[in-house]
C-alpha cells in the first residue's frame, strides 16, 4: 500500500461514500471497504486497472476525468479522492471545482515540484527533473500540470477552498522537522483535504 494512502485512510469516516478518481487497481477502495465499510465508487480509463478492480470486487466505472463529472450529482459523495493524478489532468482547477461540487470534501495528493532535488536538477543541471516519484522524461510524461505546494496554496486561496488537513512528507511518506520548517523545499509529496 502506498504510504500516502495510509495517511489518507485516517481522514475518511467509517461508512461514508467515497469516490476515487483514477482509482488504479482498486486496492485502496478494497482496503477502505474492509476496514471502514465505505460505499465505494472508482473511476478509471485503463482497461488493466478496471479488470483488477473487478477482480477485487470493487465498483469501477470506465470514465475519463478530463470530461468532468457531469453524471454525478451535487454532494452525492462524502469524500472524493484524487491521489497522484492532479498533475495528469487537463484542467486541475476545473476538476477540483467538480470534486467539491460532488463531494462534501476532497482529498488530493500530488508531487511537490519545488522539492530541492528537483530544483537542483532544473537549476544545477538545466534538465527537467526525473526521480522515483516522477520517473518520466519530459516528452513521454502523462504529467502535464506540475505544481508546487505554494502553487496549490495559492489556488486554494484564489478559489476559496478551505484546507481541512495538510500533510507534507518525504519519499518514505514520513514527516520531519526539516519539512515542517520549509515544506515547499524539503517536501516530496503533499496530501491535502479541502472543502468549500
Amino acid at each position: 500500500m502506498r504510504a500516502d494512502l495510509l495517511i489518507i485512510k485516517d481522514w475518511i469516516d467509517s461508512g461514508s461514500r467515497v469516490l476515487d478518481l483514477g482509482c488504479g487497481d482498486g486496492s485502496f477502495m478494497a482496503l477502505l471497504k474492509k476496514e471502514k465499510n465505505i460505499f465505494d465508487c472508482g473511476l478509471d480509463v485503463d482497461p488493466d486497472n478496471i479488470q483488477k478492480c473487478l477482480e477485487a470486487g470493487v465498483n469501477v466505472i470506465e470514465q475519463d476525468l478530463d470530461k468532468g463529472l457531469p453524471n454525478f450529482s451535487d454532494a452525492s459523495f462524502d469524500t472524493v479522492l484524487l491521489t497522484q493524478t492532479l498533475q495528469a489532468v487537463n484542467r486541475p482547477d476545473l476538476l477540483i471545482e467538480e470534486m467539491l461540487r460532488v463531494g462534501k470534501n476532497c482529498i488530493i495528493t500530488f508531487p511537490n515540484f519545488a522539492y530541492w532535488r528537483y530544483r537542483y536538477q532544473l537549476i544545477g543541471k538545466g534538465r527537467m527533473p526525473v526521480a522515483k516519484d516522477i520517473p518520466y522524461e519530459w516528452y513521454d510524461t502523462p504529467n502535464i500540470h506540475f505544481c508546487t505546494i505554494q502553487d496549490f496554496d495559492a489556488l486554494c486561496a484564489e478559489h476559496h477552498f478551505k484546507v481541512l488537513n495538510r500533510r507534507v512528507v518525504d519519499d518514505k511518506h514520513e514527516h520531519s522537522s526539516l519539512i515542517n520548517l520549509w515544506p515547499n523545499f524539503f517536501g516530496i509529496n503533499a496530501i491535502y483535504q479541502i472543502t468549500r
Binding site: C41, E55, N59, N71, S73
Partner: protein
C-alpha cells in the same frame, strides 16, 4: 451432437417444459389463463439455493443457451451462449446453477402465437396478446418460485435480455443480488423503433402472412421474415465487421468488403457481392427456424420497453429500492445500442446511489459483440462473476463444490 464434445461444454442437455395454471395478467390488461415455459438448467443448485443465475435471452434466443441436444447431427451447433456458459467459463457451471428459459410469446416451446388457443382449438396467431418485458419478468419470477429460488445470485442478459435484467431490479428488487446488463438501453430510440417497423412491415405485407393466420393456410411469410431478419442482421453488425467478413480476398479489407461472389459483375439484378448472398442466407435460414408472429410480438416488446413511464420519466426513481449491484457493459462499435445508451443506465444508477461497475469494451463486432469472444469482455465478465460465486460459497459456509 458433434463427434467430440469439448471439455468445457456442459455436454448433452435436455429441455424441460413447465406448466403454470395460475392466470397471468399482462400490462395490456389481457390475461393468459395458463401457459408453458420451456427451460434448460446447467450446473447444480447448492444446499441453500443461493447460487442460481438467470439468463434472459434477446430477440432470437431461447432456452437452449449452452451444450448440445442429442439430435444425432454431426454438425450440431451448441446453445446460443455456449461460449460463456460451461465448466470454467465466464458463467461457470461448476459454481452456478444456471437457468435459461424461452420467454412467453416465443416459438421454441413456450406458449406463444404458434400454440393452440384452448378457446378456439386453433393456433393463437395474431390473437396472442402482446407481452411486455414486465410481463416476462413476472412470468420468470413465477418460474423462480417453482424452482424454489428466493433470490438469484445474478440475473444476466444482453440486448433485450439486458432490459429484462433492468426490469428484474425494478419489479423484484429483493430477489437478485447482481444485475448484469450487456449491450442494452434504458429504452429504444426512434431509430431503433424505425428499424423494427420496417421489419414488421416486411412481414405483414408478405402475401403469405394472411393477417397472422398463416398456420391455417399451411404456409408462412418466408419472404417477409427473411427480409425482416436481413434488416435486423445489418443493425447487429458494424461496418467494420462486414468489411472484414467480405474483404478477405483483398489486403486487410481495403476493398471495403466488396468481395464478389463469382469474381465478376453480372450486369443483372441478381447477386453480385458476397454480402448479398450472405444476408439472404442468414435471413432465409432464420425464417425457417423462427415464427413470424413471435418476431412481430418481440419487436413490439422492445418498442414498448420504457420502465421510466411509471416514474414520471425519472428512471432513477425506479431504482430507489433494493441493494443489488450492477455490472453494465457496452461495445464501442455497437450502433444499435451504443455505449452512450449504456452510460445512460450507469448515470441513472449513480443518481439512484446504486453500486455499479461499467465497462466500455473497444470492439469491432457491433451489437453482436455480446455473443462473441472479445477477450476483454469475457475476462471482465468472468472476474465479476467469480466474485459473485465467492460470495455464494462464503455465505454457504465455505463449502466449495469444485
Amino acid at each position: 451432437m458433434p463427434l467430440n464434445i469439448p471439455q468445457d461444454s456442459v455436454g448433452i442437455v435436455k429441455s424441460n417444459c413447465i406448466h403454470f395454471d395460475e392466470a397471468l395478467t399482462l400490462r395490456s390488461g389481457k390475461v393468459i389463463k395458463s401457459y408453458d415455459l420451456m427451460i434448460e438448467t446447467y450446473g447444480e443448485l447448492n444446499a441453500d439455493r443461493s447460487n442460481a443465475v438467470l439468463i434472459c435471452h434477446a430477440l432470437s434466443g431461447d432456452h437452449h443457451a449452452a451444450g448440445y441436444h442429442d439430435t444425432g447431427e454431426e454438425d450440431e451447433k451448441p446453445g446460443w451462449w455456449d461460449n460463456c456458459i460451461g465448466p470454467g467459463k465466464a458463467i461457470d457451471t461448476r459454481r452456478f446453477f444456471v437457468v435459461c428459459l424461452n420467454n412467453l410469446g416465443g416459438c421454441a416451446g413456450s406458449t406463444g402465437p404458434k400454440s393452440i388457443n384452448p378457446a378456439t382449438s386453433k393456433p393463437f396467431g395474431p390473437d396472442f396478446p402482446i407481452v411486455t418485458v414486465r410481463d416476462w419478468v413476472n412470468s420468470q419470477a413465477r418460474l423462480a418460485d417453482r424452482l424454489e429460488i428466493k433470490q438469484w445470485a445474478a440475473v444476466i442478459g444482453g440486448s433485450l435480455g439486458g432490459m429484462q435484467v433492468l426490469r428484474w431490479a425494478i419489479s423484484y428488487p429483493q430477489r437478485l443480488r447482481h444485475a448484469i446488463v450487456i449491450a442494452a438501453a434504458p429504452k429504444l430510440s426512434a431509430q431503433n423503433i424505425a428499424f423494427n417497423e420496417v421489419a414488421r412491415q416486411s412481414i405483414t405485407s408478405d402475401p403469405d402472412f394472411h393477417q397472422g393466420r398463416y398456420y391455417e393456410h399451411g404456409t408462412y411469410p418466408k419472404r417477409g421474415l427473411t427480409l425482416a431478419r436481413m434488416i435486423g442482421h445489418i443493425t447487429y453488425l458494424s461496418e467494420h465487421a462486414l468489411r472484414g467478413k467480405f474483404g478477405k480476398d483483398s489486403l486487410k479489407g481495403a476493398n471495403f468488403g466488396r468481395d464478389l461472389r463469382s469474381g465478376k459483375l453480372n450486369f443483372e439484378f441478381g447477386v453480385d457481392f458476397q454480402v448479398e448472398s450472405y444476408l439472404q442466407y442468414k435471413g432465409e435460414s432464420f425464417s425457417t427456424n423462427f415464427d413470424a408472429n413471435t418476431y412481430l410480438l418481440i419487436t413490439k416488446t422492445l418498442d414498448y420497453f420504457d420502465p421510466a413511464v411509471d416514474f414520471d420519466g425519472d428512471l432513477s426513481q425506479a431504482f430507489s429500492e433494493g441493494s443489488c449491484k450492477f455490472l453494465v457493459i457496452s461495445f464501442s462499435s455497437d450502433w444499435r445500442f451504443p455505449p452512450e445508451r449504456s452510460r445512460e443506465i450507469v448515470n441513472t444508477l449513480l443518481q439512484a446511489k446504486r453500486q455499479v461497475s461499467y465497462l466500455e469494451v473497444e470492439s469491432d463486432g457491433g451489437h453482436d459483440s455480446f455473443l462473441l469472444n472479445d477477450p476483454r469482455y469475457i475476462k471482465g465478465l468472468s472476474a465479476y462473476l467469480s466474485v459473485v460465486a465467492d460470495e455464494c460459497e462464503q455465505a454457504a459456509g465455505g463449502s466449495h463444490a469444485s
